[in-house]
């Protein structure tokens, strides 16, 4: 099966590019990024604040399996409906620092569209660390499942 989401992370560069084509008109693709209730549904996060406009800011909060809360926030620098969002993104209380994100929305046909996300990190090392995150989380999740299974056995 062809992978719809592609990631290009060239070695030694402090950026990565994520691309994806959607079976959606560009207006809906854009809307999915600007309305708090919709963002919550697909990002799996709580949206505390989302001001979809130039100089607006946003705050997300996710709760992990252990009940720990993780905050994310950023500021929107450019907001051009159905075309472009430029924003910063920061994971609070982590050493990863702030990243700069360029979202480009593109109409392909009336019913299809394309999203290109270019993300810039402060350094190559920082990008590589962020890329590793889901891998590390995957390990943690496996670990949690193991603990759960062990607890059941003890009972």
């Amino acid at each position: 099966m062809e992978q719809k989401t592609k990631i290009n992370a060239e070695d030694g560069k402090q950026e990565l590019v994520i691309t994806r084509e959607f079976d959606l008109p560009v207006e809906l693709l854009f809307k999915a990024h600007t309305e708090p209730e919709i963002v919550e549904q697909w990002m799996g996060t709580k949206v505390l604040k989302l001001e979809s406009k130039k100089h607006g800011s946003y705050q997300f909060e996710t709760t992990d399996a252990k009940g720990n809360k993780h905050g994310f926030n950023g500021v929107i620098h450019e907001f051009s409906p159905n075309r472009k969002i430029t924003r910063t993104f920061e994971m609070e209380n982590t050493p990863f620092g702030v990243q700069l994100e360029f979202y480009e929305f593109e109409r392909l046909t009336d019913d299809t569209s394309k999203l290109t996300m270019q993300i810039l990190y402060k350094s190559v090392a920082q990008r590589d660390q962020v890329l590793q995150l889901p891998f590390a989380q995957g390990l943690n999740m496996a670990h949690n499942r193991l603990q759960e299974a062990a607890r059941k056995l003890i009972r």
């Binding site: 992978q3 719809k4 989401t5 592609k6 990631i7 992370a9 070695d11 030694g12 994520i18 994806r20 959607f22 079976d23 959606l24 809906l28 693709l29 809307k31 999915a32 919709i38 549904q41 697909w42 990002m43 799996g44 999203l115 190559v124 590589d128 890329l131 590793q132 995150l133 889901p134 891998f135 590390a136 989380q137 995957g138 390990l139």
Partner: protein, 105 residues
């Protein structure tokens, strides 16, 4: 985890990537590899050491010579490194598509 990180760092260097490309087609001695680069021989040796330590390259004794060849399994692991990150976004975007199709009506 550390091992994977080392692989990633090993691959981040252009000379090391060139060495891997070179060795991918055939096993080679350190001398033969070095002759393909303008870099000083000790520098190439250092690169070979790093690539061997993180298991991207394997050494094979053949008589008096040591040949380097590529460890395909490790190379594949390195290529898969980005996969969990990609899958995370794939899942999110699949959800986005589903949510918006439902909303469209």
């Amino acid at each position: 985890m550390n091992l994977r990180r080392d692989v990633f760092q090993a691959l981040a260097d252009p000379t090391r990537r060139a060495i891997l490309l070179l060795v991918a087609s055939q096993s080679m001695t350190a001398g033969a590899i070095a002759s393909n680069f303008d870099t000083a021989r000790p520098t190439v040796s250092k690169h070979l050491q790093i690539l061997t330590e993180c298991e991207l390259l394997e050494q094979e004794q053949n008589g008096r010579e040591i040949y380097y060849h590529i460890n395909a399994k490790k190379m594949k692991e390195a290529a898969d490194f980005i996969e969990p990150f990609r899958t995370m976004w794939e899942d999110r975007f699949n959800k986005l598509e589903a949510v918006m199709k439902k909303n469209k009506k």
